[in-house]
């Protein structure tokens, strides 16, 4: 702590407003939030498929051009897929997207690009997104096993 630091109290306006009479019990608020989030499942699955398709195009363009900027775009899409999939309990898709985030983050850091590793992830994500809730546990596990092996080979230090 430098001598230039100022430490001071601030008014907690959030506390004042949220303690006004009325409102909802925490239990009801959480239940209502869960219901409303669940109501977006259909639109979210459509969005996941669109993102997966978009990612396929980006990967093809990136491989053809060799432009490392493609990794930024693929990372952003994969990160978005991870967030949405996790919200609806699509664990296999979330794990696949997280793995692709790891890979693209690694490559955009300057490591030599391994496009086959990217492609197999993109294909796996597209398949899992298309299947959505219908992705059976056995099928999803076999896709994830393959992706885990690829990831372990490409990112040995991180596994």
């Amino acid at each position: 702590m430098t001598s230039n630091a100022r430490i001071f109290a601030v008014e907690n306006k959030l506390a004042q407003i949220t303690r006004e009479p009325g409102g909802r019990t925490i239990e009801n608020a959480v239940r209502a939030a869960e219901t409303r989030v669940e109501s977006t499942r259909g639109a979210s699955i459509v969005s996941l498929v669109e993102k997966a398709e978009q990612m396929t195009l980006l990967a093809a363009e990136g491989r053809a051009s060799g432009d490392v900027a493609a990794f930024d775009a693929i990372y952003d899409l994969s990160n978005a897929i991870f967030g949405i999939a996790g919200s609806f309990g699509l664990k296999a898709l979330a794990e696949a997207a997280f793995s692709l985030c790891d890979l693209t983050d690694w490559f955009r850091g300057g490591e030599p690009a391994n496009w086959p590793a990217i492609d197999v992830h993109v294909d796996g994500i597209r398949l899992l997104a298309t299947l959505g809730d219908k992705a059976g546990a056995a099928g999803a596990d076999s896709i994830l096993d393959g992706l885990r092996r690829v990831r372990a080979r490409v990112l040995p230090a991180a596994t």
């Binding site: 702590m1 430098t2 230039n4 630091a5 100022r6 430490i7 001071f8 109290a9 601030v10 008014e11 907690n12 306006k13 959030l14 506390a15 407003i17 949220t18 303690r19 006004e20 009479p21 009325g22 409102g23 909802r24 019990t25 925490i26 239990e27 608020a29 959480v30 239940r31 209502a32 939030a33 869960e34 219901t35 409303r36 989030v37 109501s39 977006t40 639109a43 979210s44 969005s47 990372y75 952003d76 994969s78 990160n79 978005a80 991870f82 967030g83 949405i84 996790g86 919200s87 979330a94 997280f98 985030c101 790891d102 983050d105």
Partner: protein
Amino acid sequence: MSQAPNKNDRVNLSQAEVLLACGDLQGLNIMCEMFAGFGVHTPRRCQTLAECKTVAQDRAINLIVIDSALADAEGYEFISWLRRAELDPNSFAPVILVTGHTKPSQVFRGRDAGASFVVAKPAAPMVMMQRIVWLMNDQRKFVSSPGYCGPDRRVKALGPPVGMKGRRHDDLSADVGIAKTPNLEQDEIDALFNPKAVAL
């Protein structure tokens, strides 16, 4: 902090001004639905850094929930800007940073940007509500220094770890030493409880 709030406690977010920001439209929609369930009526929706800045400059905000990935920037940038923007009261508003692909370095980055909380996805409604309740009870002071601007990052005030010497200049030893001055006389003690007006 991890202790679950009482489910029968009431929270009134109907009058709260809440800024919700996420670069991905569907991610933002999900976030908005969650907060609508919490009772927030008209959250300020933002996808870009510029939109976030405009809202923060335009109206008083009570709670900010921002994804680390905005459409054109990172959520950290907005938090750092907000904390130093000298927008009273928004610069001191509680900020929950939601991160997706999270590495430890990103958690530290969010904390160092001045976020009140960093929440990793998937952020379930119960988790988000726990953080809001925690922020409602937050008594932390605000720190403004050349290297950091935001809520005091020292969440706990339990003193230094057992057996270790504290690093703060005002940390006291747990051992009480021998008195260095004579004990107070009884009339001196009594005087402490009977303050009298004095002429200055």
